[in-house]
Symmetry: C2
Subunit: 385 residues, 2 copies
Amino acid sequence: MSVTAPRGFEAAGVAAGLKSTDAPDVAVVVNRGPLKVGAAVFTSNRAKANPILWSQQVIQDGAVEAIVLNSGGANCFTGAFGFQTTHQTAEKAAELLSVSAGDILVCSTGLIGTGDEVFRAKVLAGTEQAIAELSRDGGEAASLAIMTTDSRPKQVAGAVGGWTIGGMAKGAGMLAPGLATMLVVLTTDAVLTPEEADAHLRHATRVSFDRLDSDGCMSTNDQVTLMASGASGIAPDPDEFRAALAMACIDLAEQLQADAEGASHDVRILVQNAMSEDDAVEVGRSVARNNLFKAAIFGNDPNWGRVLAAIGTTSATFDPYEVDVWMNGVRVCAAGGPDRPRDAVDLTPRATEVIIDLKVGAATAAILTNDLTHDYVHENSAYSS
Amino acid sequence: MSVTAPRGFEAAGVAAGLKSTDAPDVAVVVNRGPLKVGAAVFTSNRAKANPILWSQQVIQDGAVEAIVLNSGGANCFTGAFGFQTTHQTAEKAAELLSVSAGDILVCSTGLIGTGDEVFRAKVLAGTEQAIAELSRDGGEAASLAIMTTDSRPKQVAGAVGGWTIGGMAKGAGMLAPGLATMLVVLTTDAVLTPEEADAHLRHATRVSFDRLDSDGCMSTNDQVTLMASGASGIAPDPDEFRAALAMACIDLAEQLQADAEGASHDVRILVQNAMSEDDAVEVGRSVARNNLFKAAIFGNDPNWGRVLAAIGTTSATFDPYEVDVWMNGVRVCAAGGPDRPRDAVDLTPRATEVIIDLKVGAATAAILTNDLTHDYVHENSAYSS
């Protein structure tokens, strides 16, 4: 159930003092090969953290030896000093692993603006300690070390036809899509070329993390990485691998949604019969980002008027006066007018499903989001203090 | 201090039982001329309420005799029956005023989906009662009748060079720009052509209500109306009128901001040195709509990292690593890095100013927004129940 489930990977997670608690905060995942294939997608936020700027260079040639991740500081908007910290982290790991620094990915997460000399010293010491503790059982420890406001680690693993996919993720706030929306490391012992790894990863993120929009806020540090060791010796059927990787990513995305800061409902917004997948995503996202809708769900209020007011702001093809809206199995709006009474809807379960039927095409997409709660406001008004 | 401040206007506000309290809920403002000039801008939400669909027809010829407004029900997504209700309201007012129904604007506000037979009967009776009570002192009563979750009425009036502008507004939630974002009625006794009224109104809304983005949620019922009676006999200097109308609209927009649902901070986001006004607005709005930024302001936390993470999602021209951010007079971020310490910033006053200096051009825009608070979540999780 971790990044070390596939053969060829070792990992570790250690406490380097970056967090104010004694919790682990530096993780390393190393690919022992024989292949050293890597692919990654990054936040589309133009405000990119130093580790993103570094990792975008590293991934160019499709070769990755290891990834170093820290929580307790985003190393974003920390200037040239911050970029040097990332560079030195890669150099430190490369030296200890006897590989090239140009094949070491780095990820950071935590408060933006954190990245001073103390931060640098702790990250470098933590990297050294983690590499000393690398093991085939280290996946769990690594998944703990990347947590920030997460209440629990997120991991996945599954074996298909002789090869295995493993993964870990962190993310509880600033959860909205760029290309990626959190730190995720996926591993596999399947035999993949860099091009295959990249194509499979882009497909998987498109239908998983890109469909998660907890709070509409896009991070500066998001990175989803796939490393392939080839240790199974098996070149997978492309369709089979693509489907398995997408399933692993959807599993992790749902774990992220279930642990979103302060949330009391996990809302799946299913948009049906759209003209295109893009339309379905745009419509779903407009609802996911509507604070009035999100507050109504917190109040167990099936306020379908707020759904229609939200989708009316999109450019998707549909007639607002033909749309049906279902909430937890009850059609509350039919053809743009009231249908079943609001009190027929039970919104008390955490799992909530809203179906929006646009009635114009055959495309479908589901967006995952959360409600807007007192706990969300509390956690995010107190985070940096 | 009301819509009846300019000569040529009468108004009334009455309680017709649309609200569950005994508060007034139907308002009428009548233009006694000699001119009957009108202009209006409407929500750009594609999900438009029945009164919007009606009023868009009425305004075509630039002639308006009167406007009927109700709170206690939005008459949105209420089907053909709801449209007939709006039509009958205009017919009723026209009959009693001995004018054409095609010159009667109608506005509604309240819960989406409300507009049944009881609603219709009360609106028609309220219209009749309000017209019976029309007076030169009725502006205040009208401003009370259009309130929903507003805690106080919003009015404005000012005399310039022989002519006067008056106005009233309502709006406390779903406050985000379409073309207009709330119900607003502006009156003037200046002599204007329909074309002048339209041009002045579009300019004024662009720099006022369009810059107010309290919660990012666009309404289905927004309408800003200007009526000109010409009763002063004075054709104003165009630049002078344009400036005065813009000032009146900015005054009302600030009153709306100050009464936004659950807010504890009025935040003015001033974007400076942008390449274009559109860029400045896009950058300011991205911050105004960022829930993490809004929650931080609630917590009196000068979290500039969230400002940079928000503006990084825009397509405006600037380099994230050159941007300065000031909060209440303290530069907390210089050239994309930490500057003055966070504890130098006092965010306890309700009036909050965030300055974002993009350093690439000469354009400026200010966006008005509010923080994200426990009271906002509470009010909007309980609104329809």
